[in-house]
């Protein structure tokens, strides 16, 4: 079986798409319900073909059509974009104004390269289980923040295939965020910044004031991760270079001179010992004094600088940003971009993620056993069920189940008019229809044009006809509007 040896040959990719890729699950995840809706039909897919040919604005009517096209084109990977106001494949035929991104998952991208300044084990594209701890810390903070602070529930974490992780938030409200709101979320969650030339990269408070509540909430969590990761494992402050790095982050007016002397005299002090020295210095300064407080604040900022999630904010800010689809294959590593369970993020090891070659071998083996036993029971199963891809697909399916359940509940809720929908209806009436109608009336009745002494009435018999039509159209909307207005009057 030569094709399986090289996991990334076009033949292997094709076999992967034909036999393993869970199109049905991806469809459910994007569509939020069983029958195709605008969420899927108007969704952009972008393909990267062999030889770096890039095809944008593809869209499909259902999962089968998507599968068929992918098997024909055999892309090295494909990306998912927003839901547009029209079908992306019709982009050239619709007016540009009628083709706008409307919805998309709120997405986040954390990439290990952003951690290069704080990791000592690897750099650039490489990753090991030691650096994964940074990602694990980021996942914990981001997952809690998005659920607890922003109140979203449908979060799908996906390993990016090499050195990072993606988060897709599929809650209806998150899907509908506009670019301004996305920018707000991204900036709210960006704590480490300032560029390469800046040493102190955390500047979220003034002086020694407490951290803003949204960040302060996680300081305890990160203070627990900090010692084993930064002080022991990565040993970030070791040697003279490390000492300078740490000193640069301490405020100059917090009496840190004794520390500098001590560390210069003893260059072999470990990171842990240096960190203890700083803590002792706080005690020496006195916790209640200004230098003590400054130093304490600086220590918190250092914890944040080394462990706070470093998201690639640009990815999150715009609805029309494309992001690689789950279960794609990373072209360099051959690993599948599998979903990850955030509650078990510490156990996740990127090296254990199945590769294409491995999965194809597993199918072959399963078929061989199958032939020997001739057991009918396993034959109708999809191929991925026979491989180590199974638990990952199950993870996505469980996620989809919750998502679809909520969509069902919401739809049922829409039919019975509950309080929330009647409120939004009255909102529509009050803010959209009522001003429109009143403006029309006002215009028809009251705009006179005075030219010299001649006064011309603008309303003509023909002019009243559209007005009549408008009134008929809006009569159903009137009734709730009247009720509502009575409500606000009392």
């Amino acid at each position: 079986m030569t094709i399986h040896d090289d996991g990334l040959s076009p033949e292997a990719m094709l076999a992967f798409y034909q036999r393993l890729y869970p199109f049905k699950s991806i469809f459910h995840w994007l569509n939020h319900e069983p029958a195709p809706t605008r969420l899927f039909v108007n969704r952009e897919f972008a393909f990267t073909l062999q030889g770096d040919v890039y095809l944008r604005y593809n869209s499909f009517a259902n999962a089968d059509e998507l599968k068929k096209q992918i098997c024909t084109l055999n892309p090295t990977r494909f990306e998912i974009g927003p839901v547009y106001s029209a079908r992306p494949r019709d982009k050239r035929t619709v007016r540009p104004t009628a083709f706008k991104p409307l919805q998309r998952e709120l997405v986040f991208d954390i990439d290990m390269t952003d951690y290069d300044s704080v990791r000592r084990c690897c750099s650039e594209a490489n990753i090991c289980s030691r650096c994964w701890v940074f990602i694990a810390a980021a996942v914990k903070v981001l997952d809690r923040s998005i659920r607890g602070q922003f109140g979203y529930n449908h979060l799908l974490w996906v390993y990016s295939g090499r050195r990072g992780i993606h988060l897709w938030v599929s809650d209806q409200e998150a899907m509908e965020l506009n670019d301004e709101e996305r920018k707000a979320v991204a900036n709210y969650l960006t704590v480490v910044g300032g560029g390469k030339e800046k040493k102190k990269k955390v500047n979220v408070r003034q002086g020694s004031k407490p951290l803003p509540p949204g960040i302060g909430e996680f300081i305890n969590l990160l203070q627990d991760i900090f010692p084993p990761l930064i002080l022991q494992d990565q040993d970030c402050f070791a040697g003279e270079v490390g000492a300078e790095e740490l000193l640069a982050l301490l405020p100059a007016n917090a009496q840190i001179e004794p520390l500098r002397k001590k560390w210069t005299a003893d260059p072999d002090r470990s990171s842990e010992e240096k960190w203890d020295d700083v803590r002792n210095q706080v005690k020496i300064n006195g916790k209640k004094t200004a230098p003590g407080k400054l130093l304490l604040a600086a220590m918190e900022d250092i914890v944040l600088q080394y462990t706070w999630p470093r998201i690639d904010a640009e990815v999150s800010k715009h609805r029309n940003h494309l992001l690689k689809a789950p279960f794609c294959v990373h072209p360099k590593t051959g690993r599948v971009c599998v979903p990850v369970d955030p509650t078990r993020i510490d156990e996740f090891d990127p090296a254990e993620v199945p590769t294409v070659g491995q999965l194809l071998r597993e199918i072959d083996e399963a078929m061989m056993i199958n032939n020997e036993d001739d057991a009918e029971g396993t034959q109708h199963l999809p191929d991925w069920e026979k491989t180590s891809l199974k638990p990952y697909v199950a993870l996505l399916d469980a996620h989809n189940k919750a998502l679809m359940e909520e969509t069902r509940r919401r739809k049922r809720g829409d039919k019975n008019t509950d309080t929330s929908t009647s409120k939004s209806l009255s909102y529509v009436v009050r803010h959209r229809l009522w001003p429109l109608l009143r403006w029309t009336i006002a215009y028809e009745e009251h705009v006179y044009a005075q030219v010299g002494d001649v006064r011309t009435h603008l309303v003509t018999a023909e002019g009243l006809l559209p007005l009549l039509l408008v009134s008929i159209l809006f009569v159903p909307c009137f009734v709730p509007s009247l009720c509502f207005r009575r409500y606000i009057m009392h």
């Binding site: 922003f150 109140g151 407490p210 509540p213 002019g463």
Partner: protein, 483 residues
């Protein structure tokens, strides 16, 4: 107690009078929820809109010039006082209702003009919200409170339980002592209503709700203003095609929206009337030296050097000269003389038509306006010989320095600043600065407080300036013509 105003009347107009005063508009601030009722003359219709547009245009150009917010407030305040004054209720000597009616009508006319495209709507909402913000901040505290009360926003306070559950975080946010349990000043809203406060971490977030401290509540008012206006504009754009009108209003609205698009230089962009006229072909050389902006002066010098100009330059420069006041007969003489290396026959065959065309004398006979800065900046030449486009954008840094030094005597101190502006892509600001330097006015004064948005504005202001100065020198009383 303010029940009987603005919101709860059914559109008859009678309910507008609030109990405590006889004013039709009880407040200086207005959320523009109700269209103006009553007669509007066609003159008012246009005049009010143009006056308001001047203010909005100034707001936009303030952004382009990157003015600090304090200065924006002052500049906008001045423009407001000049064109759309609004006084507090305490003012005794002014017609409050008349001022407020003007404000009201101006706003609604511009809504009609700016509702048609997404781009226009976005810019209009942004500028209007900024204007509202300036007025809100400048309003009398008591009146502002009464106004807010009258609006009846559907914001809810937070319950005691919610406050206790988030006690630590809320206290950290407002810097109150830990044991404080009085959170009555906080409001609870969906976070998406105040994205900018979330971004700056000025609220406590919990489960998608934002808890907003009392000090930040103005942000909520602005957001409410913005969303109401956005919705209303969309509704208006849908209603506009059904508007019954007698061909007088639509062209007017077109003019207004075009003006806004070309950076509020509506006086230049759409008017076909040229300044003064009476410019002749042989005056151009001297005028170029004294009054032309960099882009046009550069093209003029290229014309003199090469005895020829490529197509797009002819178009750009030719239209500029037209609006400057060069009549068609003079234009033909000017171009004929300038292209001294070609024969009469070739000129008549290849160039005359285009020149006449740009004056609206050939083809579809459209009277083309001169290109605005925005258009000039966007169109830059790709080919080697082309020299149109905004030189601030197209020139390499060294060439820019040499050119500015030789043409406008820009000193090395100002040069640094200009290069910095160019680097930040603030080309109009750089151009405005050159105007200031070459006319010896102080920095930030601009062209009578305006910035360069159109090459003809540059030239006209320069000529006006010179006229005023010669008058002054000859000892006459000077009354500067108002923009």
């Amino acid at each position: 107690m303010f029940k009987s105003n603005i919101r709860d009347d059914a559109g008859s107009g009678a309910g507008e009078v609030s109990r405590h005063s006889t004013l039709k508009y009880p407040f200086r601030l207005n959320f523009y929820e109700k269209p103006p009722l009553g007669d509007v003359t066609i003159e008012e219709f246009e005049l009010f809109a143009i006056d308001r547009l001047r203010v909005l245009g100034e707001i936009e150009s303030s952004w382009a010039r990157n003015r600090p917010s304090e200065e924006v407030r002052k500049v906008v305040g001045d423009q407001c006082a000049k064109y759309v004054p609004l006084s507090n209720n305490t003012a005794k000597t002014v017609e409050l209702d008349e001022q407020r009616r003007k404000d009201h009508i101006g706003h609604f006319v511009l809504r009609l003009a700016f509702c048609r495209s997404e781009e226009l709507r976005r810019r209009f909402v942004k500028a209007e919200t900024a204007l509202f913000r300036v007025r809100y901040d400048a309003d009398d505290t008591l009146e502002r409170q009464q106004f807010l009360k009258s609006m009846k926003f559907d914001w809810s306070g937070i319950t005691h339980e919610e406050g206790i559950a988030l006690q630590d975080q809320l206290n950290t946010l407002i810097g109150a002592p830990e044991e404080n349990t009085d959170f009555s000043g906080f409001l609870k809203v969906k976070w998406t209503r105040i994205p900018d406060l979330v971004e700056k971490r000025k609220v406590v977030l919990k489960g998608g709700w934002a808890f907003v401290p009392a000090t930040e509540q103005s942000a909520l008012v602005f957001h409410e203003f913005q969303t109401t206006l956005e919705c209303a504009l969309e509704a208006t754009s849908k209603a506009l095609p059904r508007l019954d009108e007698d061909t007088r209003i639509i062209p007017l609205l077109n003019n207004l929206s075009q003006g806004f698009l070309s950076g509020a230089s509506f006086d230049w962009g759409s008017s076909t009337a040229t300044t003064a006229g009476g410019v002749t072909a042989d005056m151009i050389d001297e005028m170029a030296r004294k009054h032309f902006p960099f882009c046009m002066r550069y093209q003029h010098e290229e014309l003199r050097k090469r005895k020829h100009l490529p197509h797009f330059s002819r178009l750009e420069y030719g239209l500029f000269l037209k609006v400057l006041g060069l009549p068609i007969e003079e234009a033909l003489i000017f171009w004929r003389k300038s292209f001294s290396k070609i024969t009469d026959d070739k000129f008549n065959k290849e160039y005359k038509y285009n020149i006449r065309h740009s004056f609206g004398l050939e083809g579809k006979r459209a009277n083309y306006p001169a290109k605005t800065c925005m258009q000039i900046i966007m169109e830059r030449g790709q080919k080697d010989m082309e020299c149109h486009g905004c030189p601030f954008a197209t020139f390499a840094s060294e060439n820019l320095q040499t050119a500015l030094m030789s043409m406008y005597n820009v000193g090395s101190q100002d040069m640094g600043e200009i290069l910095h502006l160019v680097k930040g892509q603030h080309y109009h600001v750089a151009c405005t600065r050159v105007w200031e330097i070459s006319h010896g006015v102080k920095k930030g004064a601009g062209l009578d407080g305006e910035s360069v948005t159109h090459p003809n504005l540059y030239a006209a202001k320069s000529r006006e300036f010179e006229k005023a100065r010669t008058k002054q020198e000859s000892g006459e009383d000077v009354v500067m013509a108002e923009g």
